[in-house]
Point group: C2
Chain length 220, copies 2
């Protein structure tokens, strides 16, 4: 099928998911960093509908939307499966991935990048409520995928690395170890998985970039 | 694996998707109609996170979220596949399904059930823009799934049956045959597929129900 390329951008957890999945499978790929303020002709050609990263290019064929890319990767390279084999377990992993996107990520994005004051407070409350539900789901497990990293771990992989920076930006403590013991312990385990550890944006640079994104979006 | 049941509600296109998929596969199931103003203990037990229909029950095991249910059905009963076999084609079907949900359905829902005046006008424009993109994708094909109904056809199956009622409710013409020739012709073909034709809510009753939903949501 030819070469594998990932179009991503430094601060996007969505693009890291794709890289993590490829590393998990042991697939060699070329990473192309996109400047979202000045999108490349390649990105516009590969994702004309949304004009967003990540895009996976597999032998020139583009695939967009990070969760759909993860499914594609799992179906194309069978080694080290991301999703379980059983249809019911697959449905559960997809259910929680959708929940994590629609409820956890959407609310924290509003809180961090698109709101202040009262509106931010409401978004934070919504986020914490969703996080509690995720905590319950994780209870008693090493990883969301069971004994090792799977689909859902990659989808919520932004929590242990990006969330502490979101907390710093907003002056809030969100992932408290007492309130969220399972998520907290999982986060430590996740960040110590070798292929994750080697593919994370440095926190200091990431904080600068995320802070600039917030300023830009809030016109500050 | 035991009995198959669908928890749905009369006016929800999301629940019909699930019934259509089961009919397409020739799977016998029991339909249980939920009153969303007075949700049953069964629904609350089966979908405690969202408390929404549809839910598929397969031998007492619940699966929620209509697109995830469609994937489950396709993985569990292999006959008459909904998704193509090729990973790239599967990714495309999933991409357009997500687009149809996030862009087409979300905007028309805002327009019909959650807005008036200027806000409604903006939502309608957003919807028509998304519909144009979908029209382009369909061009030259009998069905989104190719020569017969597939995953994406079921996902956008609300367009030919629900959209005319949305138009009536808002006094708008949206799916114009000149502007959207492919979608218009596809809609006629889709509604004439035998298992679709036999499983559609009667338009007169549906209009009453949808109008009441709009009134309720807008506090009229």
């Amino acid at each position: 099928m030819g070469e594998v390329k990932v179009l991503g951008t430094f601060a996007s957890p969505f693009a890291y998911r794709v890289e993590w999945a490829l590393l998990h499978k042991g697939i060699k790929y070329e990473y192309i960093d996109e400047d979202l303020k000045n999108k490349s002709p390649l990105l516009l050609k590969c994702n004309p509908v949304h004009k967003k990263v990540p895009v996976l290019l597999h032998g020139e064929k583009p695939i967009a939307e990070s969760l759909i890319i993860l499914e594609y990767i799992d179906e194309t390279w069978k080694e080290n499966p991301l999703l379980p084999q059983d249809p019911l377990e697959r449905a559960k992993a997809r259910f929680w991935a959708k929940f994590a996107e629609d409820k956890c990520f959407a609310s924290i994005r509003t809180a961090v990048f698109r709101s202040e004051g009262k509106e931010q407070k409401a978004a934070v409350e919504e986020f914490l409520e969703a996080l509690k539900t995720l905590e319950e789901e994780l209870k008693g497990k090493e990883f969301f995928g069971g004994e090792s990293v799977g689909f859902l771990d990659l989808v919520v992989g932004w929590i242990p690395h990006w969330l502490p920076l979101f907390e710093e930006m907003c002056g809030l403590k969100l992932l408290d170890a007492n309130t969220f013991p399972s998520l907290h312990a999982w986060g430590d385990r996740f960040l110590n998985v070798p292929f994750i550890k080697e593919k994370l944006p440095p926190s200091d640079k990431l904080l600068v970039r995320l802070t600039n994104v917030r300023k830009g979006l809030l016109n500050k």
